[in-house]
Symmetry: C2
Subunit: 455 residues, 2 copies
């Protein structure tokens, strides 16, 4: 499915559904809804008015509305929770998995959330309140409680019977969790292995022990890393004494990975993950200005460096023309080293210590790349200003600054990592500050020393 096709489909669906809604053609509405994925309905509904959405939901069964609600974007979820009445909401929740309920409740104003929770049955309320207690970006915050757990001394046929009974109510059925007598998680059995085994086989004989599990406080990124590394389809969340608290399914893990990716890209660009294209002007100012001010301070550091050489520049103005080249190229080279090192840190290939060889490589890289770009720059500067010494000075300064770029590009992320800061985001400002300050200092410093050749 190509992107434009997808877009066209969206428009067709939107128009058809709107026409059916406007003409109150309930048969057409039901037909369209029947033929469409809930997520696509949600996307189209975002553009409808509250009245249109209310009428549409009025025509649909709870199960369908619940599906749409579960798969909708946050904005539509908030709107639906606002315009539907509380009794309808309570009926919808019966068809939704606990992790999605908690997600949606977490986005509501505290008072409305409390009202809804109060209307729930006692058992359900207890579970939801427990889940709401975990931070949003931890294993506890994304886990659900719809799993099947069985005792280890059950036989395959007994377990299959239990699955048939409670299967319809659970999210995950392909992996069955096996508990011992004190309710600790001791293993998992894949549904496929149960189907292929003899009926009288005990679960403990076919289960996989040595289960990879996480505690509820684990960061969601760490959970995603485990799921990705071990190719898991579901990961259990356990207490310190290995009691089974919940499970996290692979579709939620994909959401985590995509979310973290988006967040990384935004933070690298110096914007908050809270901001989006529809943020109000003042919200955007509030979120972007602090980063600009931090950058301004580092820009002043560079400016102070330049100001130390005011008299040199006043004697050879060509220096003012050439100096941004040296500083800028250092920044580019430093960012290259940074990108490689950050990736290696993420993959666990580089650790603090024993990497003298790698620093040396970056330094040599700085020498070679600096010499290559410095030579080009030197020749061009010579032709621009007709002074061969200026060409040699920029050649030497470029090599020095690219060596500095490699050195800082390598060490800054490692130091930040050792200090438990995010190396991807914070590194770049330190590295560009270093390459700016040193770039200006070295180039203007060389010029100052050899000033008599430049006049």
């Amino acid at each position: 499915m190509k992107e434009n096709e997808a877009l066209d489909k969206e428009v067709v669906l939107h128009d058809a559904l709107l026409a059916a809604l406007t003409s109150r053609d309930d048969t057409a509405i039901c037909q369209i809804v029947e033929d469409t994925y809930p997520i696509d309905l949600g996307i189209v509904m975002e553009q409808f008015s509250d009245e249109e959405i209310l009428y549409l939901c009025g025509q649909l069964k709870d199960e369908k509305v619940a599906e749409i609600l579960e798969h909708a974007e946050e904005n539509l979820q908030i709107r639906l929770m606002r315009i539907l009445d509380n009794n309808r909401i309570i009926s919808l929740l019966h068809f939704m998995s606990k992790d999605n309920i908690v997600d949606i409740l977490g986005d509501m104003p505290v008072n409305s959330r409390k009202e809804i929770v109060k209307l729930m049955k006692f058992g359900e309320r207890k579970i939801i309140q427990d889940l709401l207690g975990y931070a949003e970006d931890t294993a506890g915050g994304i886990m659900t409680t719809e799993y099947i757990s069985v005792k280890q001394d059950l036989t395959v046929s007994q377990a299959l019977q239990k699955i048939k009974e409670i299967g319809p109510k659970t999210e995950e059925i392909n992996t069955i969790f096996v508990l011992n007598n004190v309710k600790q998680l001791v293993g998992t059995v894949a549904l496929r292995d149960m189907l292929l085994a003899q009926d009288t086989t005990k679960l403990s004989e076919i289960m996989q022990d040595n289960v990879i599990a996480v505690e509820p406080e684990a960061d969601q990124e760490e959970v995603a890393m485990l799921v990705s590394k071990y190719d898991l389809h579901v990961i259990p969340v356990v207490s310190k004494r290995r009691g089974l608290l919940g499970i996290i399914t692979v579709d939620d893990i994909i959401d985590v990975i995509v979310e973290e990716h988006t967040e990384d890209m935004l933070r690298l660009g110096g914007v908050s993950k809270e901001e989006n294209i529809d943020s109000s002007l003042m919200d955007s100012v509030r979120m972007r200005l602090p980063w600009l001010v931090i950058n301004l301070l580092t820009a002043f550091l560079a400016a102070f460096t330049v100001s130390m050489f005011e008299s040199t520049i006043s004697r050879v103005v060509a220096l003012a023309v050439a100096m941004p080249i040296v500083a800028g190229m250092g920044g580019n080279a430093g960012t290259q080293t940074l990108a490689i090192v950050v990736r290696s840190i993420a993959l666990g290939e580089v650790k603090w210590g024993n990497n003298k060889r790698l620093v040396l490589k970056e330094i040599f890289l700085g020498v070679i790349n600096g010499a290559a770009t410095g030579a080009i720059t030197g020749v061009l500067i010579y032709f621009m200003f007709g002074n061969v010494y200026l060409g040699w000075i920029i050649f030497a300064a470029m090599i020095c600054n690219l060596v500095i770029a490699g050195f800082f590009g390598f060490l800054v992320p490692l130091i930040l990592k050792a200090m438990h800061a995010d190396p991807a985001v914070a590194s770049s400002i330190f590295i560009t500050t270093a390459t700016d300050v040193f770039g200006f200092f070295i180039f203007l410093g060389f010029a100052n020393v050899f000033i008599q050749y430049l006049l």
Copy 2:
């Protein structure tokens, strides 16, 4: 599991396994291998010598070695294929899924690959050769052929019987693919629904039609987007006439998402995805230098702009001190806008056309953030140089350059997208070039016009 814990575990495992290998303690070796996940064994084996790896593999069953091979990093895969003899390799392949076999063969030298393929049985060879024909980053390149397909007029109990027969040989068993009489894919049935249905129910009654599928030429990123959007655990790959060619499972999709993420981050940093921390010095030069040279050309554009104002700078050297601030802040602000717009393009929120309101917002943002940072800069510059007019000029130039940053930050990615280039990567060089050139031009231009107040 915390990162340090994971690292410690790795060291313990490495030492224990090495000790067992060195003392040829085969019982200990088997015990360690039994208790360890194949992926972890692979990580540790990377540090072993060829002899140690050969001895280890000699002690293990084909099934175990195949598991290690499937889950290993590319480097170890290449090494194993090189040091194991071809007959052993052929036995290993029986235990591996087709997509993994194709992955590994794809990384081998052409001659060795041909030798192995020649040794395969005819049926298998045909499948592998077909799969090798697809590009690595397409749906065809990552699909596997181990799925279960059944005819739509089968009953649930007939289908379950078939699953028990061929289940052990397939990768994906939780979703069964339903074909019509001319072998077109017409639906899917979840294993759970079969278990919960009556034995005599026809599959066509409980199957989900309207299946989301992709063609083999589809880009893997597009496939990942569909899987993520619709929360799929498996996606079928079909021919133009909807014949079932293969399936892609969710764990491979996670690999795709992580791979594309890494690639984006590296390309944003100006490095090739082929480079890693262990690349040789000359490989790193070869991969990084071209990007630096491109940046050098844009740096010269900025330098030429500065050179137009040489005489102005020679009369007021303070300009050389302040000018990098204006240019740099424009770059930062442009990158912020770029990050927001690129994310919105990826989510399909922004399209070419109908976004006058959004451009206007970025322009106003430029005015406000420019005024704020410009005011700080103006005051500091006034204190540095004691000239109030220089403060006002930098204030005005900052506003103009941040407006330009917002304008280009918004339009450049949209234009690149419309030209089918990757907006995330190529945009940044155009935007920084624009903010550098305009930043210098506006600031020095203002200074030139009001030169009598600056002397």
